[in-house]
Amino acid sequence: METLVNLAQHYNYVVTIFLMLAGLYIVIARGNMIKKLIGLSIFQTSVYLLYIEPAKIIGGTAPIIDPAFKVYSNPLPHVLILTAIVVGVATIALGLALVVRINEAYGTVEEAEVLEKDRDR
């Protein structure tokens, strides 16, 4: 019971871990390269949440020095994740570009079929 309450209180982390595992599962279980990339993207996005959640303080503002505000959110994780988002976008873009090239070279984006086509040569 205590565990359940604990999980419910940290439901945001439960969601994050679920997304993490779901993304990783898609990458491993799917043979379609586009789906693999979608899984990879979900996996990366869940990590953005992992960083952002503890940094956000309920009722906190941006860190502006002003006597009117006392509670601030931590800006550093937000900045880090901005960088990570850019990296993620670049990765997915490059991955999709490779899939386009693979589709041109093999006529399919299913990993099993691609491997099959190279086997008989």
Binding site: M20, Y51, T91, V99
Partner: protein, 497 residues
């Protein structure tokens, strides 16, 4: 010059990055090559200057943009960083002249400027990982080097290179993301990203949140191990090495995995090892067992490979096992052996893959049966291959012997005699696969396809021979490699709790 000198650590990253931009604007492969060559030859000058400074005056702390650590990003260079930076930049400079003809031969003309652009970006990333003292900054550089590596691999002539690049992209991104998760967990319990600051605060976190610290250690281990191809996380490596352009394979084999190994060493010894009783965790045992598995299983696979590039790729996985074995032993001789092998293996593997590139350039094939008699037609190239191959086995008189000697001494110091036998045993397997190639190349009659072949032009021959010569040189004069590696090992072990 004196105005530039204090900014050497930043130049390590800035110069290749600017070079990459210039190369991207170049219209012809030749212009881009000249830019890449100039940058590659400039980097060792900086690297050696930094190395000298760390050896004489101790660690350098460079505050990027003038922001004090731990708030700003700190480039922190001690002997270990400087050693890795020197390796990467010297290998880059040594093999660069080879690239012009080999790359013009293996990839389409309009892609050449982009190739040099990607190489320089990759160099930026690798040097950046090695020089930064900020864990998240290391992730960004890791991705810069990885993304450009995927492109470099995809430039291979065979369409399988595309699939190899895609598979590496998936695995590499998972690895990098695991690393970020690990860093995120450490940040949650310490509130810092600066590795020195992290080491100072992690001990406190260990008392209150041991599970989080263990999880972080596990994530970082798995993530970085994927990048350094620690067995059994090496699945991406054989295809990536086999289908990438020859020069790219030589560069990656010599530098990319080595920089990832550096990152692992840094976290084990300078961050986690300095803050918590890492010996109480079974991590060293796990590393030793996986290293042994790599040394035996990957070597065994190499003996059954019929494709020379794939064979050498599996041999790389095995040789990485020796390096991680030294890390797992974690005593003065063992760690020195592992760190020395980083340089020794880089030099010999670069020589081997350059020889393969030269054979391809001269119209030969890389399947073993196509290599028949290639030694008689290309004697100097195969001489370099032979020397480096003997280095892989660890024959006395080559640098490979020195690494294995220190590893064996480390194993005895660690009280495990059977490890010495296992190191010897795995060397015997490498005799089989190296010997097989040498027999085919030297003793068989040349095939008609390579009847016209001869040694490649000097621009390709000299780098190959120079690396092979270095394999012999460092087998006799060990003051430079073992001296610096021993110094680095001493400071790493001295920092352990």
């Amino acid at each position: 010059m004196s105005a530039v000198w204090p900014h050497l650590p930043a130049l390590q990253v800035v110069v290749p990055l600017l070079g990459a931009v210039l190369a991207a604007f170049a219209r012809s492969g030749r212009t881009a090559f000249v830019i890449a060559l100039l940058v590659s030859w400039l980097m060792p000058v900086f690297a050696v200057a930094i190395l000298r400074q760390t050896l004489t005056a101790g660690a350098i702390s460079y505050h990027l943009g003038g922001w004090e650590p731990p708030w700003g990003i700190e480039y922190r260079v001690d002997v270990l960083n400087a050693y890795v930076i020197a390796l990467v930049s010297i290998v880059g400079a040594a093999i660069m002249p080879f690239a012009r003809r080999s790359i013009a031969f293996e990839i389409e003309g309009w892609r050449e400027p982009w190739f040099y652009c990607m190489y320089l970006l990759c160099l930026t990333g690798l040097l950046g990982i090695a020089i930064t003292g900020d864990a998240f900054n290391a992730f960004v550089f890791l991705e810069i080097s990885s993304l450009s590596t995927y492109v470099l691999i995809a430039l291979g002539a065979n369409r399988r290179a595309l699939l190899a690049a895609f598979q590496y992209l998936i695995v590499g991104t998972i690895g990098a993301t695991f690393y970020v998760i690990g860093i995120g967990l450490v940040y949650l319990v310490t509130g810092t990203l600066n590795v020195v600051d992290m080491a100072a605060r992690l001990g406190q976190a260990w008392l209150s949140q041991p599970q989080t610290v263990i999880a972080a250690l596990a994530f970082i281990t798995v993530g970085v191990s994927l990048k350094l191809a620690l067995f059994p996380l090496h699945s991406w490596l054989p295809n990536a090495y086999a289908y990438a352009p020859s020069w790219v394979t030589a560069f990656l084999a010599a530098t990319a995995t080595k920089v990832a190994i550096y990152l692992l060493v840094r976290f084990y010894f300078s961050v986690f090892g300095a803050a918590i009783e890492i010996g109480a965790l079974p991590i060293a045992d796990i590393i030793v067992v996986l290293s042994l598995a790599a040394m035996f299983i990957a070597s065994a696979i190499a003996t059954f490979e019929s494709d020379l590039k794939r064979m050498l790729a599996y041999s790389s996985v095995a040789q990485i096992g020796y390096i991680t074995l030294g890390i797992g032993l974690a005593n003065q001789a063992g760690l020195t052996g592992g760190l020395v092998h980083i340089v020794n293996h880089a030099l010999m593997k670069a020589a081997l893959f350059l020889s393969v590139g030269a054979i391809l350039y001269r119209g030969g094939g890389v399947r073993l049966e196509q290599l028949a008699g290639v030694g008689r037609k290309m004697p100097l190239t195969m001489a370099a291959f032979t020397i480096a191959g003997l280095g892989l086995i660890g024959v006395p008189g080559t640098s490979g012997f020195i690494s294995k000697w220190y590893l064996a001494v480390g194993a005895i110091d660690g009280g495990s005699w059977f490890l010495v036998l296992l190191i010897l045993g795995s060397s015997l397997i490498s005799i089989v696969y190296v010997g097989r190639v040498l027999e085919i190349a030297w003793l068989r009659e040349p095939a008609p396809e390579i009847a016209q072949a001869g040694d490649p032009p000097l621009s390709m021959l000299l780098p190959t021979l120079a690396l092979a010569a270095a394999t012999i040189y460092f087998g006799f004069d060990t003051e430079l490699t073992v001296g610096i590696a021993g110094e680095a090992a001493k400071s790493l072990l001295g920092g352990l709790r």
